[in-house]
């Protein structure tokens, strides 16, 4: 599926094909900003802005989206997983625009979920986790997990492998959630200290993985 960069959040919410194929995108979009922001804001604008606590980037990471970037000189494609470089910083060069988001078909029967804890003033995530879990023959065949709000950029958890081939019991999920924060240099600000943020991220990871697994068929 291809989404034009200037598609508004409202248009995402109204799209039936999107809801059918990537229900997580609609689910997350409902939590972005407020009604006015969703009416005017666009998915491409939000992703290119690269707020380190935005809700959509981790969704793009677990879905393994590809971003099409265009400048006068031509087009190039960059995986979402290589797009975010720092707070408000991406691989976009001066004169280059994000024009399209390409989404590969999700694995058959994959369940997806997002869990986040919002900062009361801005609504941005203190910590949020997106998860995708696909099940085949009764065991987990694929698991993806990504975070936002925790560190300088959204990031994909490198180690979900321990879940593969298991039924995804709570202990295994808990261990993956725990491992995902190993070595992460978490943000520390007036809204949440480092330790609490890491804790929230683990809770979000566990909740997102558990829910994604429950949704997988």
């Amino acid at each position: 599926m291809r989404i034009g960069a200037t598609t508004t959040y409202r248009e995402l919410l109204d799209s039936k094909p999107l809801r059918a194929k990537y229900p997580l995108i609609a689910e997350v979009t409902e939590h972005i900003g407020d009604l006015q922001v969703r009416n005017a804001g666009t998915i491409g604008g939000g992703l290119a802005h690269a707020d380190p606590a935005a809700d959509m980037p981790p969704v793009m990471l677990v879905l393994d989206a590809t971003f099409v970037l265009q400048s006068k000189g031509g087009k190039r494609s960059v995986p979402a997983r290589k797009f975010f470089k720092g707070p408000f910083t991406t691989v976009l060069k001066p004169g280059e625009l994000l024009v399209e988001i390409r989404l590969p078909g999700p694995p058959k029967g994959a369940g997806m979920a997002y869990a986040s804890f919002e900062q009361a003033a801005s609504g941005y995530a203190l910590a949020g986790a997106a998860a995708l879990v696909a099940v085949a023959k009764g065991v987990i065949a694929r698991a993806e997990l990504a975070f936002t709000g925790v560190a300088e950029t959204p990031f994909l958890a490198p180690a979900t492998k321990p879940l593969i081939g298991t039924k995804g019991d709570p202990d295994a999920i808990g261990r993956v959630a725990e491992a995902a924060m190993a070595g992460v240099e978490a943000n520390d600000d007036i809204h949440a200290g480092r330790e609490y943020r890491l804790h929230l991220a683990r809770v979000a990871a566990r909740r997102a993985l558990t829910e994604a697994l429950a949704r997988a068929t």
Binding site: Y124, I190, A192
Partner: protein, 784 residues
């Protein structure tokens, strides 16, 4: 005839507000209007070595630039108007623009006046300021210690005042009491966040020598006086207009340098000048609220009788003493330490302390929320310590219904009350016993449910002018109304107060229309223009209805008395033989002989046939000065569930039972309770202004300062009891601040109750998930 008093008619001010047809100060546009911008300090504390405005003066569109040195002899300092006696109050000068030192981030340094707002703002960047940075101090307790950075040369240890309240013998009570406890309680600094930021537009007419100043004001007559002091223009040559005012919560009471600056510029340039702050300037410059560090001790018996309360409070004042600042943590705080309870021995010491922060003044509740919070928090801690139900402790100490008027240990006398009645009603609504049973069951399942019960009373309806004088308030606290009847029988009431969202345009019309038997549409209420309204003292301290509403009532009664005289004359009857019925004076026994209010209005205004010796016209002025404050009260209850894994607090139910005496408009009362409760829950759960140690405000926008949103707040269940006040002819008490006063401890006590099994005793506000979680971790680790 049905009365309008007690009827929840819709607010007449709302259609223009919600359709964008209201005129606010920033909407004022005048020929030749200039725009002002103010350069503000980026340092919390620094000496000003040099302020170079040469480049700014040359910039396109700039008309004038002024520095503190330019204005030193031309504009007087910003006055403090509540000089609380017997506390060694020190009020150092607060120049309208800093001259040699800046004392908070936002302190004014230079004024630019230009042909456009953009030109004025751009020119600020051309001003070069050479600062010599000094150490900042933001914590009031730390600022009062020896060795802390000193803000003002003549204020040792930054202590602006040391105020004491005593009643009974607290030291003896503590020496003898079997149970004693203490707790350090923080009241974080809050940002009032009125929807409309402040603005001022001044227009001096050199031809007439008159200055007209539009100000976002809760009290235009006070602003006229303060403006006269600062500009040195006599008061009768100043007209202050407060047009539509989009909320204040106390932040639009004080006199600020800003309105004096635009007034001076207009005087100097002979053209109108306007200044409007944006949210970022608002958060740095408009007063903040609360900011106490409190050390509280309570003592009592083992069976729940409170015998003593002691406090030591450090109240942050910011860089300068704002208009009413000294009175807030003293008169409006310390005198309320007994709350609704009979506490025989009280001793409080309040230090007012200057810190390198934005000045602190009245914010919704102003001193009373801090008093109620510390008392209610201590009572829950006490109940837990002696193993008694917190409701029973409260019941045991409430002032009995038959004891009013009741004088508490701090010396003030409560007008009327039925504290048990409100408590019973609220407990019945929540079904207290049932909830305790549910809580016990939930705890077994590892879920954390909690309940907070606050019984409160508060002092408002400010107040008797004699008391105002005795406590150092630089003005009266009576209020005023002119009720003027037009020849066609329609009426205008000109009032001294200045409602800015509270709905008195509607409720006062209800009072007048009732008196004259008119449809409410035939009565208009006019406020906010010192040229039209009699001397009054404004809208704050939940005083407008109790005090100004009473003036309206008295003025209307006087008009009616005169109308009766005229009616008797026209009907050739004795006044004693007239009855007032359905909007007419009717001769007793002769129902066909009558004069309607309309007929009398016409006759009074044309005066063709008046009683001998009676003047033409049908209007009356009343100045109402109450004999006491009013003391509304009630019980608020909140139930919560805390997610111990994340620290998130979910409010299950919120019940507010308030008693503000008879209600003129129950819908408006409910709106005030809702607004107050939400504002208090914001304080309890998520609002906090944060300065770093260098005095930089880190919560400078709405992205970081968490004003509550509708989606974050619970449904509020309201109910009332009705206990009239004997101190005013309406019997009413204020209800604008009760919600803010009662809700904060209610929520915090509920959360602490929920987490009792984990060993959590106290969490400092606001109860963000991060703080709740941290408190749980500390309790688990046994750390305190």
């Amino acid at each position: 005839m049905a009365t309008l008093f007690g009827s929840g008619i819709k607010r007449r001010e709302d259609p223009r507000l919600v359709t964008g047809r209201a005129t606010y100060t920033d909407d004022v546009k005048l020929p030749g209007l200039l725009y002002a911008a103010i350069l503000r300090s980026t340092y919390a504390h620094a000496k000003l070595k040099q302020v170079d405005v040469a480049k700014a003066k040359q910039a396109a569109g700039v008309v004038a630039v002024y520095t503190g040195a330019d204005l030193r002899d031309k504009v007087n300092a910003v006055p403090c108007a509540w000089n609380v006696p017997n506390c060694d109050l020190k009020v150092p000068p607060h120049p309208v623009l800093a001259v040699d030192k800046v004392r908070y981030v936002g302190d004014g340094i230079a004024l630019v006046v230009a042909e456009s707002r953009a030109a004025a703002r751009d020119a600020l960047d051309l001003i070069e300021v050479d600062y010599d940075p000094l150490d900042a101090v933001v914590d009031p307790e730390r600022a009062a210690q020896k060795g802390a950075p000193q803000l003002h040369a003549d204020v040792p240890n930054n202590v602006a005042f040391t105020w004491k309240v005593t009643g009974g013998d607290a030291d003896k009570a503590f020496a003898e009491a079997p149970v004693k406890l203490e707790q350090r309680i923080l009241q974080p600094r809050l940002l009032p966040t009125a929807m409309e930021p402040r603005a001022a537009c001044a227009s001096y007419n050199p031809g007439t020598g008159q200055l007209t100043c539009w100000i976002t004001s809760q009290n235009p007559h006070i602003h006229r006086f303060l403006l006269s002091v600062m500009t040195k223009l006599p008061e009768h040559r100043i007209r202050v207009i407060a047009p539509e005012v989009g909320g204040g919560f106390g932040s639009k009471i004080p006199g600020y340098a800003d309105e004096a600056l635009v007034s001076f510029a207009s005087l100097d340039l002979g053209r109108p000048v306007k200044w409007t702050e944006d949210r970022s300037e608002n958060y740095k410059v408009t007063i903040h609220g609360r900011d106490h560090v409190e050390h509280v001790e309570l003592c009592g018996t083992k069976d729940g009788k409170i015998t003593g309360l002691r406090t030591r409070v450090y109240a942050g004042l910011g860089g300068y003493a704002s208009t009413a600042a000294p009175g807030i943590p003293t008169i409006l705080h310390g005198l309320m330490y007994s709350g609704p309870y009979a506490i025989p021995n009280i001793a409080g010491t309040v230090y007012g302390v200057y810190t390198t922060t934005t000045p602190v003044d009245a914010y919704r509740g102003a001193g009373r929320p801090e008093a109620t919070f510390l008392l209610e928090r201590m009572i829950d801690l006490y109940a837990r310590k002696i193993g008694m139900d917190p409701v029973e402790v409260r019941r045991k100490n409430l002032i009995p219904n038959d004891k009013f008027p009741y004088t508490v240990a701090t010396g003030i006398t409560y007008d009327s009350g039925n504290y048990q009645g409100a408590l019973d009603k609220a407990l019945q609504m929540i079904d207290y016993k049932k909830f305790r049973a549910e809580q016990a069951k939930a705890r077994k399942d590892g879920r954390y449910l909690g309940i907070g019960v606050t019984t409160y009373c508060e002092i408002c309806g400010l107040g008797p002018s004699q008391v105002a004088g005795a406590v150092g308030f630089g003005g009266g606290l009576y209020d005023s109304a002119i009720v003027r009847v037009y020849p066609t029988g329609v009426v205008r009431a000109y009032i001294g107060a200045k409602p800015h969202g509270q709905g008195e345009e509607t409720t006062f019309a209800q009072i007048v229309a009732d008196e004259f038997g008119l449809p409410v549409e035939n009565v208009e209420v006019v406020a906010g223009d010192t040229e039209a309204t009699p001397q009054g003292w404004g809208t704050y301290g939940s005083r407008t209805t109790a005090v100004c509403g009473s003036a309206v009532k008295v003025a209307a009664q006087r008009v009616k008395a005169k109308a009766k005289q005229i009616a008797a004359h026209l009907l050739e009857a004795n006044e004693a033989d007239l009855d007032w019925k359905d909007g007419k004076f009717v001769v007793k026994g002769s129902p066909d002989k009558s004069k309607s209010f309309g007929e009398l209005a016409l006759m009074a205004n044309v005066a063709w046939n008046m009683p001998p010796g009676v003047e033409p016209g049908l209007e009356a002025t009343a100045f109402f000065d109450p004999t006491n404050f009013v003391f509304p009260f009630g019980t608020h209850i909140c139930t919560v569930e805390v997610d111990a894994e994340t620290g998130e607090v979910k409010i299950l139910r919120y019940i507010a039972v308030d008693d503000c005496g008879p209600q003129i408009n129950p819908m408006i009362v409910e709106g005030q309770v809702h607004g107050g409760v939400i504002q208090g829950l914001g304080e309890a759960l998520q609002e906090r202004a944060v300065y770093d140690e260098d005095g930089q405000l880190l919560t400078g926008t709405l992205m970081d300062y968490a004003v509550p949103k509708a989606s974050q707040m619970p449904k509020i269940e309201t109910a009332h009891t009705v206990t009239p006040s004997p101190v005013n002819p309406l019997g009413v008490k204020g209800v604008g601040e009760t919600g803010t006063i009662a809700s904060v401890p209610t929520l915090v006590n509920a959360v602490c109750d929920a987490l009792a099994p984990l060993g959590v005793t106290h969490i400092d506000k606001p109860l963000t998930p991060a703080r709740v979680w941290t408190a749980i971790q500390q309790a688990k680790g046994g750390a305190r």
